[in-house]
Point group: C2
């Protein structure tokens, strides 16, 4: 699932011409091009069309070369598009009550919130697409989910250093149990995070995991 599925020479030949056209004074800024490309990918996903190089070029109006330069692999492009509207959370403050901070971080996670730019529809699309394509799943995991976990995992490590959490605590497995309880609601139960019953269940699950993490 890379651009190399099409012979590279063809891609480059066609692309160079397109890029040359754009190299005038009115050439769009790089961020604009990136935005156009990502929105074109999302438009295809929203209409349940397969994401192909030709369709992304047609939908975004960028040249093949510009697309190729920015996204040498379709897999990483689709992963990035699925992550539009999300970001790596800020560092978790560790001078206050660690339990409060973790609960707020999870229960206030925009991926599960009602009024976020990252909607439940997009979440469901993401899971659907990654279950059909393990390469995309791994790309999304490494480039997006794993990076987003880091601030919380660092906070857990500091909790261990501060003597709040068990010194031998497996912080990676802790996070898997916490996040897993959240995913379970949306992926297995088919519930929504807008539902107070869902939030109450996640909060109860978090409380159980938290107790299991303590010294």
């Amino acid at each position: 699932m890379t651009l190399h599925d099409t012979p590279p020479t063809t891609l480059l030949a066609a692309g160079d011409a397109g890029a040359a056209v754009r190299r005038g004074p009115g050439r769009p800024r790089d961020e604009e091009l990136d935005g156009q490309i990502l929105q074109a990918v999302l438009a295809l996903i929203d209409t349940e069309q397969e994401v192909t190089v030709a369709r992304v070029i047609a939908g975004s109006g960028v040249s093949r070369a510009a697309l190729y330069r920015r996204w040498p692999s379709m897999t990483t492009l689709i992963a990035a598009a699925l992550d539009v509207g999300r970001s790596v959370p800020a560092e978790v403050p560790t001078d206050g009550d660690l339990r409060d901070v973790i609960f707020a971080g999870i229960l206030g996670d925009p991926s599960f919130g009602a009024d976020s730019r990252y909607s439940e529809t997009r979440f469901r699309q993401r899971i659907r697409l990654v279950m059909a394509d393990r390469q995309l799943q791994k790309a999304y995991w490494h480039s997006h989910v794993a990076r987003r976990r880091e601030p919380m995992e660092r906070a857990l490590q500091r909790g261990r250093e501060r003597g709040i959490l068990r010194p031998d605590l497996d912080t990676e497995a802790s996070f898997d149990a916490i996040a897993g309880a959240c995913y379970y609601q949306l992926v297995v139960r088919g519930d929504s995070f807008d539902d107070p019953a869902t939030r109450a269940r996640v909060s109860a699950a978090l409380d159980i995991v938290w107790r299991g993490m303590l010294v």
Copy 2:
């Protein structure tokens, strides 16, 4: 997504004729018909075709009426097909070591095992399909997953009664955290339960949840 999407009168008229043909001495037994129908649905899912009434009839060789009698809704039929090879686990023995029994129950769960009839491929298909169709997700949850949880949830309740687990423990949320940690490996990390590192991580997560459940 029910058979009623097609006008019922048409369905029944065509179906009655088909059923009459089958009412001879060579009429296949009910279980055989059910197996034929379920296999036809799985064949469509395996080849990524949409499951329609016409295709199930063509693939299974059963009459429209026979299909309709057994499966008044396509949603429940697809849910049942996705569950072929799985069953509700036996009651969990509660006279022995509860921790051992729970760990064995989860780490030996055929849905996550290597050599089970219920393959990882089928698991991925199931998640992909339910994320595209919340009605199917809810049907699968109520008819299959929720029922499969019951023996383990009863074991947790008895653990509470025996004074091993906290008297106020939310056993439903406990199960969500345990199962969620398992799902997280396959759905988010894209890992396989055949991988010893995955099993070690699930085992560590289980240990954390278990500690949080104790008195």
